[in-house]
């Protein structure tokens, strides 16, 4: 039986043989388990994102062993639970907002190396746009102007204040 199942999965059975095997599988629960196990083995070997595994039996079994709580739930407790839940949600949200803000504010441009060297605080948003003026004034005289032409202005363009205010 097992050999037949394996052969079927490899596509090595003739149609009539396969039909017979399917009939057998329907009646024989052990053969059915083998069929599932072989597929699981194949899946694991292929390392797909999802593996089909029937855990309903085990869950049912575990549920049967769980004690059933029969005590009635009081309204007070549920209110309290809800309050805790709400405040937890609120603080989570606040945390989210703070994190979102820090993501927005932290200039990704702050040079890692430079920060490590000097422990200076990161430049503020306003500084970014102010820096552009110094950069432009510097660029005017820099030899990189002759080498790269306008491309050297990319350093300014890539940090336009417009982009930063978004």
């Amino acid at each position: 039986m097992k050999n037949n199942i394996s052969a079927l999965m490899d596509g090595e059975l003739f149609e009539d043989e396969a039909e017979a095997l399917f009939d057998g599988l329907k009646r024989d629960s052990e053969a059915h388990r083998d069929w599932a196990a072989y597929h699981l083995i194949g899946d694991v070997l292929r390392q797909p994102e999802y593996i089909h595994r029937d855990i309903s039996g085990r869950v049912r079994e575990l549920m049967r062993n769980e004690p059933t709580v029969l005590a009635p739930r009081t309204r007070g407790i549920s209110q309290k639970v809800r309050n805790i839940g709400l405040s937890a949600a609120a603080s989570l949200m606040a945390l989210g907002v703070v994190m979102w803000m820090s993501v927005q504010i932290t200039p990704e441009t702050t040079p890692q190396l430079a920060m490590q060297q000097t422990n200076l605080r990161p430049a503020s948003l306003q500084t970014q746009s102010k820096s552009n003026d110094y950069l432009m004034a510097h660029q005017e005289f820099s030899p990189s102007n002759d080498m790269n032409g306008d491309a050297s202005y990319i350093r300014t363009v890539s940090y336009s204040p417009e982009e930063k205010t978004q």
Partner: protein, 320 residues
């Protein structure tokens, strides 16, 4: 076949000899600078620094009396810089505004050859031979600094036109600080000038206004000095200039070693500038601000962070 290999060997040997003579590389740089100004081209290049990559289009046209350059960002919100008639325009808040006037570079190319001859003492130049960028044949040149106060520069120069098709700035650990490379390029031929130049502010009042702005920048001896300017940096200019959002004119000193420049800005402290202090960077350019005795010092340059900091700390007033 053996004959062919021998011939290639000879060619390689020839290249090796060329690399010994530094004049060759200087000539290449002159070609690059000349080509950048005198060639009409349009292309798309990628610019990368840190973990950011951006794509931009650049168009460069030559007019009888001036150059027209347009740099547009192809990623994200509209960002654009136009350089025309020696003035720089920037697309800000949904309109083109003039942000700077250029007069310091009018002396090209005589100014540049001075800078180039200074290169010899500051960098070791290596000819790394031939390669290709975006399908074009290029010559690869490496400029290795003699100290750790400047970056190494690697240039890929188009062998036919002399245009710089790729450039990287490397730190002392040979890590790429920033780089840009053309992915598509059109050199010469027909350009649709009217459509390229559309949207350019050409009103008379604009030009008059910018002329007035140009006249307010004056060369003078400010009395400010910086003792720790790295060896090989020569003073290019010393000017007093107006700056956007500043009440008083700003003193600017510019030094160059041929490949990079360091600018020093000195100005009286305005109202809310204590938040300016600190180090920041734009690709290979580092900026360092510090308030000292009611003056805001700013040092900007295509040099490592330690260099701008060292220079700033050495600024002092020497008297006129």
């Amino acid at each position: 076949m053996r004959w062919w290999v021998g011939w290639c060997g000879l060619l390689l040997l020839g290249n090796g000899y060329a690399a010994v003579g530094q004049e060759t590389d200087l000539d290449w740089l002159k070609t690059v600078a000349f080509a950048g100004h005198q060639t009409e081209y349009s292309g798309v290049f990628i610019y990368q620094y840190g973990n950011r990559v951006e794509t931009s289009r650049i168009t460069h046209l030559v007019e009888p009396d001036s150059e027209y350059e347009r740099l547009e960002s192809l990623d994200g919100p509209k960002r654009e810089i136009v350089r025309h008639h020696g003035r720089v325009w920037c697309y800000l808040n949904h309109k083109m505004v003039q942000i700077d006037s250029q007069q310091g570079r009018a002396g090209f190319p005589s100014l540049l050859s001075d800078e180039l001859s200074a290169l010899n003492g500051n960098y070791v130049m290596k000819d790394l031979g031939l390669g290709s960028v975006a399908g074009y044949n290029v010559r690869v040149l490496l400029f290795q600094p003699q100290d750790n106060l400047r970056y190494a520069h690697k240039l890929w120069v188009h062998t036919d036109t002399g245009l710089l098709l790729k450039a990287t700035v490397l730190d002392e650990k040979k890590q790429v600080v920033e780089q840009y490379a053309f992915t598509q390029l059109k050199v010469g031929g027909d350009f649709d000038r009217p459509s390229i130049m559309s949207g350019m502010p050409v009103g008379k009042e604009d030009i008059a206004q910018s002329k007035a702005a140009m006249n307010t920048t004056v060369a003078f001896n400010s009395g400010w000095v910086a003792d720790a300017i790295p060896v090989g940096f020569k003073k290019l200019t010393e000017v007093q200039r107006p700056m956007r959002g500043k009440h008083a004119p700003v003193t600017q000193l510019v030094f160059s070693d041929g490949l990079s420049a360091i600018s020093i800005f000195i100005e009286p402290v305005d109202a809310d500038e204590d938040d300016m202090e600190g180090l920041s960077s734009r690709g290979a350019v580092n900026l360092y601000h510090k308030v000292v005795d009611k003056y805001l010092y700013t040092v900007v340059g295509e040099v490592p962070p330690r260099t701008v900091m060292q220079v700033l700390e050495s600024i002092r007033y020497n008297g006129r």
